[in-house]
Symmetry: C2
Subunit: 599 residues, 2 copies
Amino acid sequence: MPSYKAPLRDMRFIMHELLGAQDVLGAMPYYAENETHDASLLDQILDEAARFTENELQPLNQSGDQEGCTRHEDGSVTTPKGFKEAYKKYREAGWTALSADPQYGGQGLPHLVGNALVEMMNSANVAWSMYPGLSHGAYSALAAVGSDDLKATYLPKLVNGEWTGTMCLTEPHAGTDLGIIRTRARDNGDGTYAITGTKIFISAGEHDMADNILHLVLARLEGSPEGTKGISLFLVPKYLVNADGTLGERNTVVCGSIEHKMGIHGNATAVLNFDDAKGYLVGELNKGMNHMFIMMNAARLGTGLQGLGIGEVAYQNAVAYAKDRLQMRAPQRVRPDEAADPIIVHPDVRRMLLTAKAYTEAGRALAMWLALSLDVEHHHPDDAKRKEAGDLVALLTPIAKAFMTDNGFQSAVLAQQVFGGHGYIQEWGMEQFVRDARIGQIYEGTNGIQALDLIGRKVLMDGGRKLQKLAGMLETFLEENEGNEDLAPYLDTLSRAAQQVGTLTMVVGQKAMQNPDEANAVAVDYLRYVGHVTYAYLWARMAKIALDKQGDDKTGFYAAKLATAKFYFEKLFPETKALSATIKAGNDALAVDEAIFNF
Amino acid sequence: MPSYKAPLRDMRFIMHELLGAQDVLGAMPYYAENETHDASLLDQILDEAARFTENELQPLNQSGDQEGCTRHEDGSVTTPKGFKEAYKKYREAGWTALSADPQYGGQGLPHLVGNALVEMMNSANVAWSMYPGLSHGAYSALAAVGSDDLKATYLPKLVNGEWTGTMCLTEPHAGTDLGIIRTRARDNGDGTYAITGTKIFISAGEHDMADNILHLVLARLEGSPEGTKGISLFLVPKYLVNADGTLGERNTVVCGSIEHKMGIHGNATAVLNFDDAKGYLVGELNKGMNHMFIMMNAARLGTGLQGLGIGEVAYQNAVAYAKDRLQMRAPQRVRPDEAADPIIVHPDVRRMLLTAKAYTEAGRALAMWLALSLDVEHHHPDDAKRKEAGDLVALLTPIAKAFMTDNGFQSAVLAQQVFGGHGYIQEWGMEQFVRDARIGQIYEGTNGIQALDLIGRKVLMDGGRKLQKLAGMLETFLEENEGNEDLAPYLDTLSRAAQQVGTLTMVVGQKAMQNPDEANAVAVDYLRYVGHVTYAYLWARMAKIALDKQGDDKTGFYAAKLATAKFYFEKLFPETKALSATIKAGNDALAVDEAIFNF
């Protein structure tokens, strides 16, 4: 049975030593006034989050997978044994309110620390974590564009976790293409709307963990324009709420079935049938797609954290197994008294472990950087700083979602491989990590869609402005460290890669002006390229800190950081050589007659 | 629910147009005398194999996965509904005897056609196919080194499928490292042995499809040397066989449990407890490891065919979905009357489909080339030809096992990705392909072990002799086609890659003389490199044929072949650029203090 220990040392390294979180947060009155920027407070919360996730969530992960969810004839859903009780504890400990705004009962702590909590939750139990996870998206949308009435009625209970939220976008015929949804809204003339239609793949769409579920639903008001410009966002509660805040009658939205899936069995993926269900408009009419993206961006970083969390826990268990499992001999025997040496001596086993380790630690740095940028975007008093942070968030979000879930899946597969045959057996828990990690590449916009978002909306349509800001940070770092001999090999690599990103972007951009398919054709490879450059930048920065501090270090932490940086640059970053070639090859090999697929 | 049509056109292309099978086989009296080399006979068998696998096996694939196997208290195992009946039909149609030697009741047909059958079986139902599949290994070992008595008693019923076989190697503490197994044999003094021990992960180890199961078991005779040099191979039948060939008493080998696995649920993976079970020595005492490799090499190609078969069926279903699913618009609308265009118009979807297609078709060419080489190795009258073919088989077997299962898994994952969220739902069948494909990378020697076999035993310990023969074939092809302008870009790539393989091999070889870890550290990347060079050679040869024939072709087959070759060279082969860098980087980044894994 797998185990999990939260990587607190690495989280603190990134938070304090890499990002200087206390200073960044301290510059914002929102945090400084409540002293929620304080490093020792943040550390204390991490400790508590570690205890909760290790002791309460992780023990339910494997049993939750094996038991799954059960839907009853009346449409109600029972979650796996222990899920409900764990949610009660989670709620009572105040975790649901962590990063929420104090005006709705939140604790007003930085996203940065919420991000660390969510990583731990995903390592411990990704299926469970999706129940409160989906509430974040609903909270963000309501808080950003909901009317005062809606906020007053729904936000406090979403924040204190009495109620949970969902995102209802997909329909049987419409996933990526939300412009063609068929769910419709009729104006009841009393400020409410009647919503009718079928939504599928609704994570946490029905369950027994909270008293009410707030569905945020995309639908088209009768008479609105076709396509994405006629879509609005509605709040449809499972139970209607009386004027005094108590629960009223059951709304006409029911769970028609739950899906049998490859993984995340502990989470109920519901088909929801809305039959003239009473709903409330969220934000402006026909601006539903814009409002939806508020939820979606939160969900995308959250999905990236699933890849990260699973990569971390899979790595930890693979290391433990590799130290324990005796098989074959090293050139110099390590355990001469035993029949064989532990497999961690074999270079190919180390290759697999280090791949997971290097991707995970860079991913953690990216996610925390992004989370801290979200804090700046939302709360910095300086407009320019907020704008700058917002641009970075926009650029890095598709990378965090796609690169982190792709690498998380790859890490889980490699960690499973370390176990040999045992990795394929359910009992050992490694195959669950692979199954659970797989969904991250698919939902909340497939990774192909993330790649289109990056190259299209975030880079080319933006004239490369956001990308140049990132390049500017790299250049500043390179200039600051010119002449640092220990860092030199990494700086060289980084410098060439940054130049190459510029060249590739120009090449693709020019071709795409003639034919938009040229961007589509290389989008996935381009995202991996920019992802690697981002990781290389973060690894170079982490290596610099480790070089400065390793002299006094007796724990070996900085030596490990340097070894992992070296592995990243020598063994993982070279993927960019292949990507550069396939990006340059463009759309030619893809612009084929559809008839070739007849064979 | 997924569907499957055997890729007969491509199989015929490879068999006849690429490999010239009739001529190669016709040069061997073993085939020519019985006319089992005849092209129309081979084609007819392919047609029948297609019908059987499409109609009898494929419909049981999804139900078999969902139902799984059941072990009863007495140790017996019930296979999923329909499995037993399908096996009866398979047996009655003579499929078990296809490539077996006529002296044991076999049909004496080439491995080439047996290979095509096995690919189809794996596309249709990999879990089912493992029941007869394991019999091949047992057959090979018994036929090669069994005593006349053992052959007479056991082979005819293994060949006619009344009985099936297993390979019993792994123990709880010993997988890769068979030198440390604990199962022991005691000489009963009457020509039989008493076998005691526990074997795990025994595929098809217990079931209800055949009357008897022949376990081929590695064990150490009391008093034999330690390590691999003291291991012998024993035949331990589930039921003892009377002198008249009828079944006698139940032997003391029982199935203690069956594993709950990530996939291949329809196949029973047994823990077998041997308790003084009666066994018969197969081959020579203490030569068990050598004899085991006879089985293992058959199993390795068979495992490669699992990757191939799953890649093919996953591709077919992804193409069908991509043509059917309407979502978003192409720059030029394809279905102006519908709300959206089929997703096959999107370049990124084509990238995923073409990746699976290019890997699958090259894999098929490799597998069939290998199978035909096996025929030559076993039956050619000329010693030198047999030796040459044997060398090629030895070199290509680890590539076929590892490269084909890695690419098969990747193809299944990409094909699943084409389905978006539906790919994650069991009902659609795509996630089963991913789960079923995953085991191929793990068992019959993990792909890491295959890579060590290639770089160590097959290349470096051999002084590069076998590899040079392969390089010689490439050079001949390059010389023959010098000046062919249409082929020129592929020939350039191939020529540079062939040179680079030589350079990389020398670099690694020199470092490995100082430190064997240097080979271990790059083995997996090296295998992928050599795999790509092999695929590039096969794609260039296939492209040449297609160029010659496309003019008269109205079906579009050769145009599809050329488009896929182009995609392979432009989009997949560039992986070698990254591999070249990581191979050159060697063991440096892996030769780290174990303490770094404490973080």
